[in-house]
């Protein structure tokens, strides 16, 4: 999924009307993208309430600044950038409350009398969520945008204002860290 998303004519029309001051058009963009942005932001901040606040603030900033949106990227790419940076602004002064991946996820081998059992999907999901939350912020955002949200490399790198090579490097490190953290929960390698 490395290709860019196709341009949206509907976005373009709504953005043009919003630029002209049509709040109802912008509210339609809210309906289209608020939950999607919230899902991304939720993984970048500490809790649900903060994610909602960040999402609200991102849309307010987008509305106030939409005249500066040049349209040379997708609207949601521009919007995501505002949201991701608002999340960073709120969390950058804090120490991550999440312990290292090793501290969180590595079970002591001697406490498990049997090989790890195949966990249910809910357990895998929780392990993945913990592993993602345990990533350093500079690795977490690339992984959330690319692998969870499914944006293309080009889109995700643009949102984070990074070159693609640097983005790929950081993403790869994030993938390896998460894979190591959830290794026991993933389906077995069929070729082993």
């Amino acid at each position: 999924m490395s290709e860019q998303s196709p341009p949206s004519a509907q976005d373009g029309e709504l953005v043009a009307r919003a630029k002209a001051g049509d709040l109802l058009a912008f509210e339609e963009l809210v309906r289209m993208y608020a939950d999607r942005l919230h899902a991304v932001v939720r993984r970048l901040v500490d809790n649900q309430d903060e994610a909602e606040e960040v999402t609200q603030e991102a849309f307010l900033r987008a509305w106030r600044g939409i005249a500066t949106f040049k349209g040379d990227s997708q609207f949601f790419t521009w919007l995501y950038r505002i949201g991701v940076n608002e999340a960073h602004r709120r969390t950058s002064h804090r120490r991550s409350p999440v312990a290292s991946l090793e501290e969180q996820l590595v079970e002591p081998a001697d406490t498990r009398p049997e090989p790890p059992r195949r966990l249910e999907q809910d357990d895998l999901r929780r392990a993945l969520e913990r592993a993602v939350q345990g990533l350093k912020p500079d690795q977490r955002a690339p992984l959330v945008l690319r692998d969870i949200e499914g944006l293309s490399t080009a889109e995700a790198a643009a949102i984070l204002d990074m070159g693609e090579a640097a983005f790929k490097s950081r993403l790869h490190r994030a993938r390896l860290a998460v894979r190591d953290a959830v290794r026991d929960y993933l389906p077995e390698d069929p070729e082993r």
Binding site: M1, S2, G21, L23, F26, E27, V30, R31, A34, D35, H38, A39, V40, R42, R43, Q48, E52, T55, Q56, F59, L60, W63, R64, G65, I66, A67, T68, N85, H88, R89, S92, D122, R125, R126, L128, E129, V132, P137, D138, A141, L143, D147, I148, G150, D161, M162, A166, K168, L171, H172, R175, V178, R179, V182, R183, L186, P187, D189, P190, E191
Partner: protein
């Protein structure tokens, strides 16, 4: 490896990489594990309302609209954008 996962290798690069993966005792398992990871990560995309595993809340659209209508303020360029850490 990242380019292979992204599907952004040229056909020639892909063929060489595939041959390497077949022969390399480290890269083959790594690639397969990262593919399984990617599938798993995509599966949680639609279930992001509460990463702690609780019941997903409803849509945030009403709250965003309420906030927007309550604070429309003066429209101006977005200010003070702090870049994501590099």
């Amino acid at each position: 490896m990242p380019d292979a996962l992204d599907g952004s290798l040229t056909p020639r690069q892909r063929a060489r990489f595939a041959q390497h993966v077949d022969d390399c005792p480290e890269c083959g398992p790594m690639l397969r594990s990262l593919i399984r990871l990617r599938v798993a990560l995509r599966s949680i995309a639609t279930d992001a309302s509460d990463p702690d595993g609780g019941t997903p809340d409803g849509s945030v659209v009403p709250a965003v609209l309420e906030h927007l209508r309550a604070h429309p303020g003066e429209r101006r360029p977005t200010a003070g954008r702090a870049p994501w850490p590099r």
